[in-house]
Amino acid sequence: MSAAGTKAALQELPPSQAKLLLVVEDSAADAALMLRELRKDHCDVLATVVQTAVEFEQQLKQRRPEVILADYNLGGWSGMETLEILRREGLDIPVIIVTGALGDVLAVECIKQGATDYVLKDGLARLPEVIRRALREKTERTLRHHMEEDLARKVDELARSNAELEQFAYVASHDLQEPLRMVTAYTQLLGQRYRGKLDETADQFMAYAIEGAQRMQVLILDLLAFSRVGRQEMAPTTVDSNAVMKEALHILNAAIQESGAVVTYGELPAVLANSTQLLQVFQNLIGNAIKFRGKQPPCISVQAEKNDRHWRFSVSDNGIGIAPEQTENIFVVFHRLHTRKEYPGNGIGLAICRKIIARNGGKIWAESKDGAGTTFHFTIPLPATGETQGPPL
């Protein structure tokens, strides 16, 4: 007797609640036994029984079952072939192999081929729980899959919009330079040739125009430098930060002499970084410590401490300090806390530092009390290999 087409509504709940179950079984008696077990357990399924591979594929297309019970031995074919068919159709439907007897080797093979579980015919009492678990796992899998897709898409979008932003900043600043150079040069030339030949107001106007053009030129160069941090392919190498420190002090020599600054530093480590960029960070931080000095000559100390994940560098000064609520704002591009008259600059240095450190996998932050000095901390991760960084040089 054919079991095909036998349908059994197992509960009186609305069918939309019932899970669609496809039973692949050539023995009507066995199919009936399975369904009885489910009924006993109030397992809410709507079952269809099929015998042949053709019927199976038809049902797959027509009803899209949520879970499949397949007999291992189907006289002419095997329940294992349902796995092959699902794979071919690209369908993720849990398959539970139901069989009279299954050796360990075959059981392992079933799971390897993608069956969710297997149930022996003399242990059908397990069936309801196995089905429930299969459905639960499927739901979780689907959810996880959606979340992963969602995350991948967001990461992708973010990377693209970041790249576009970099490109935009770069092109804008690069292409703006050319016309701006004309404005700057010609207003300066006007100033040189015609100052004092028109009236006083004209001289003032020219001075404003020259000043504005020059300021914009500096801003564009700063923006270009900032966007360049993202564009440089940095190949981190092992860098002796003592050497980088010495170079920074050499570059800042004039400012150090002029301000009477004393810069002290202990043994600094070798770190994995881009030396040019590390130099820029040291130079900006120490340069700031000198620039934002109080009445006393600047006293600046640079230290490095290691923990199990990174080196933490600290640059401390006795300068004017920063109000605690401002210690994050100072890292924003073009954000300044003082007028240009008080302290010259455009507010790009710390933004560049943050970008460099972030690209190197570290963090940078500031601690300060208004009027009582500032300490900048930044971290540089240890190499991922777990190898030690070598002793301080």
Binding site: E178, L180, R181, M182, A185, Y186, L189, Q192, Q217
Partner: protein, 145 residues
Amino acid sequence: MNPSFHLLIVDDNPADVSLVREGLAEAAYRGEIDRVGDGAEALAFLNRSGNFGRAVTPDLILLDLNLPKLDGLAVLAAIRAAPELRRIPVVIFSTSQLSRDITRSYELGANCYVTKPGNLTDFFSALKAIDRFWFGSVRLPSRAE
């Protein structure tokens, strides 16, 4: 100052060309200045083809990189590939600060690379330095050889 010098400026921006002329005037350069506005014109001028049948081979070429039709690097490559032109010194005078442009220019045989300064004073100093070096210190190859 030797008035027989010939300088060829290859630059598409008239405002820049005018600034170069002003700078050279301040530097007291008294030679001839010819100017072409794109890469194709530059090669026509140097090869005395088309409208440039009576062009004088320059002693020095001041070459911008970002040019219409044929860019500066292509012009430079063509100059270095032509036996009758390859001896002419070429000074790249460009806004670009990209190390890629700088390296490529030298690879293709530029004699020096000068970035156009944004500030007028620096712009004029650069031209003065070019004038003093190329038309003062340096021995240039003779024009007809």
